[in-house]
Symmetry: D2
Subunit: 153 residues, 4 copies
């Protein structure tokens, strides 16, 4: 029954940013921890992360690689759902669709600032959660947009 | 005009596996090179890669993380398109949609075999290419399925 | 070159609602015209349409069928892009991904009010346009969410 | 638990084509019945349907409209899942992503042959089903490709 409702934190609850940040080392694979995502803001059902445009995420064409963008989007949604649930619970990505609207320039030899990742829960059902993620370049322009479905286990 | 046709290698052309393998270090970001993808087979428009289920790609739940699967899928399609074009040409991912059907178990402390990534060009137009990617677990069962659109630059 | 820019109407331009409404009979297939979509509002790059929850769009489970929702979403985006281009130009859907978050109840014997379809251009490039569509139930809750890529011909 | 298994018909079971055909009038909305889909073949987990390229599904550009293609894809998957379950059970589309690879030409004044819709269940879990759909033009070329997730209710 995807349309029943899971108990969730009230919309004005305070979210523990340090606890969310800890998920990025405790719950994700080390290869994903290496994205060095940083929690900037969170409220129940929405998180904002910084994604450093570091040289090892930039490909020969001089742009932040799409693989890093998708990985950041997926990871951000885990945090957004956790923030709405009032803490991490086991979940699994059912599907994730990403559109790439605009390249994020980067250097292969030095840091190039940060992109911003905004993940938002669109609906938290009993067994499924739906969300969308925006990835913004340093100028705040939409660079990538993703939508996703998670299964709550 | 997405429906015009790009000159492509004949379907029975021989594909240079070493040249495809070299793309995985020369053309992708170092973070993606770290997936250690290995080209197993290729023909024009189709490649088969091995994706090692290495500890740093496994998350706390004991499965290969979805981020690695999406990254491998995207990367494999670059090789599949290159194999059909007769060599690498600049391209960019327009969108990639991945569905996760079945977890691929892994260990956080030691290697856990390999998944297989099969990428296939469904249509190579003049400016757009369409493809699908299957990720198979060690037993050959479908674990993830992706579809994607690329823009040829 | 998906990242170049197409000449577009200024953001504060007035959009001719009657001209947009006329597209719904002149440019779409008769089967789609039968959705009876009605243009409520438009500004460059964004349109709001009413989608009647009519009996012949309701299936045996008593909800507005997903097929009608997808058709409305796709059609609304044609209007949103046209509103930004300053008029209709030939285009074709490259891909459309729809997530269904919440059923919209309906009757198979009588009218059941209207859903609302909000289509927004996220990026209008030279050859590709990206957009998102929200379908809201009568209470204003998000019932479906779609993202799409169009090729401008 | 999306990865458990739903009891399903054996792979070599005979599927009742007339029962599947009846779903196209009994279970779908009248607007969808008007697609006039015809069941050509079925085995557990896979169906092949004919989609007439009728004038009222053809838009001003002289091609079968994408809305009809998406509607046919979604509908075909309901039949494919039902064929694997050994009969219809309530289900709902969670998401459907369609890519349009090649236009299917049609006339606005007379019939233009038939497209073929092949729907295949990729995985039937306990609560979720995954599938893919191919839409082929009269020459058997891939015109559209969709992937989808259903929730079993």
């Amino acid at each position: 029954m995807p349309h029943a409702t899971t108990p969730a934190a009230p919309a004005d609850a305070t979210v523990d940013l340090a606890a969310l940040q800890a998920l990025l080392t405790d719950r994700v694979a080390p290869w994903v921890t290496a994205l060095n995502l940083r929690v900037l803001e969170a409220r129940p059902g929405e998180v904002v992360l910084a994604l450093p445009v570091a040289p090892h995420h930039v490909h020969g064409g001089g742009v932040l690689c799409g693989q890093s963008i998708m990985a950041a989007a997926d990871t951000a949604m885990v945090l957004a759902i956790s923030s709405q649930l009032g803490g991490f619970k086991p979940m699994t990505t059912v599907q994730l669709q990403t559109s790439f609207l605009r390249p994020i320039p980067g250097s292969t030899t030095g840091d190039s600032g940060e992109a911003r990742v905004v993940a938002r829960v669109l609906r938290l059902g009993k067994s499924l959660a739906f969300g969308e993620i925006e990835v913004l370049d340093a100028a705040g322009r939409l660079a990538a947009h993703a939508t996703t479905t998670y299964a709550l286990l």
